[in-house]
Symmetry: C2
Subunit: 111 residues, 2 copies
DNA sequence: AGCCTATATCGTATGCATACGATGATCAAG
DNA sequence: CTTGATCATCGTATGCATACGATATAGGCT
């Protein structure tokens, strides 16, 4: 009964919702912000900054990696992360296009 | 154990994640799109367009209403919905500001 | 080799989101 | 006032996301 039938949604809508899903948790937003702010992008720093256990932070890092928004490099025993700005820019541009398209569709003869 | 301690996240991050949560389901994105496209914004039309039961659509409509993105008007036995463009514009602007801020923080000496 | 540090992953528990049928509420029409 | 149509809400079931401790992995150090 809880079968979302996600395949029947339009691709354009799925694209936006998929992107939004990535940012739908404050931890992931915070990770992106910290990665953009700090010069050192080490996992331990993130764990220190976030109100989460190390395992949870790693989990969120993995999610961000899976959509390509961040890249991880093994640096000795540590892990260095950074934002893939090319991907970030594409995401941001897509969102911009979406809201722009929405604005253009605006109909004044409604409600 | 599954206590997110959400209160310990920064407000700026929560603001973005809250917004993203609204768009994190294709049904809500689709509803917004259909509302922007169609001249008639009747609930039944949305039910016909979406691969969801009427109860589920109503649920998503309620969620969109709770964040102010759409407004509902009772029109006889029907319900007429429309986007609150003032709110939509504020959301869109906030997202834009966020990504702009992110871009500005970009540090080249990382990774 | 043995140990410490840093991180990823596994396993598990739990809560939230979601989907739906059923029911309730409201209005128009006859 | 009864019927049919439309929609909201309730109750419930279920799956996904999330959080965490525990464990595995890997590298550096002595």
């Amino acid at each position: 009964m809880a079968m979302p039938r996600l395949n029947e949604f339009h691709d354009r809508d799925l694209k936006i919702s998929d992107f939004a899903k990535v940012l739908s948790h404050p931890a992931r937003v915070a990770i992106l912000r910290v990665l953009a702010e700090k010069k050192e992008c080490i996992c331990g720093d993130l764990v220190a900054d976030l109100p989460l256990a190390q395992a949870s932070v790693s989990q969120h890092l993995k999610a961000l990696q899976e959509v390509g928004l961040i890249q991880g490099t093994i640096d000795g025993p540590k892990s260095r992360y950074c934002i893939d700005w090319k991907v970030f820019d594409r995401f941001q541009r897509d969102m911009g296009k979406w809201s722009e398209k929405m604005m253009n569709l605006r109909q004044d003869n409604c409600c």
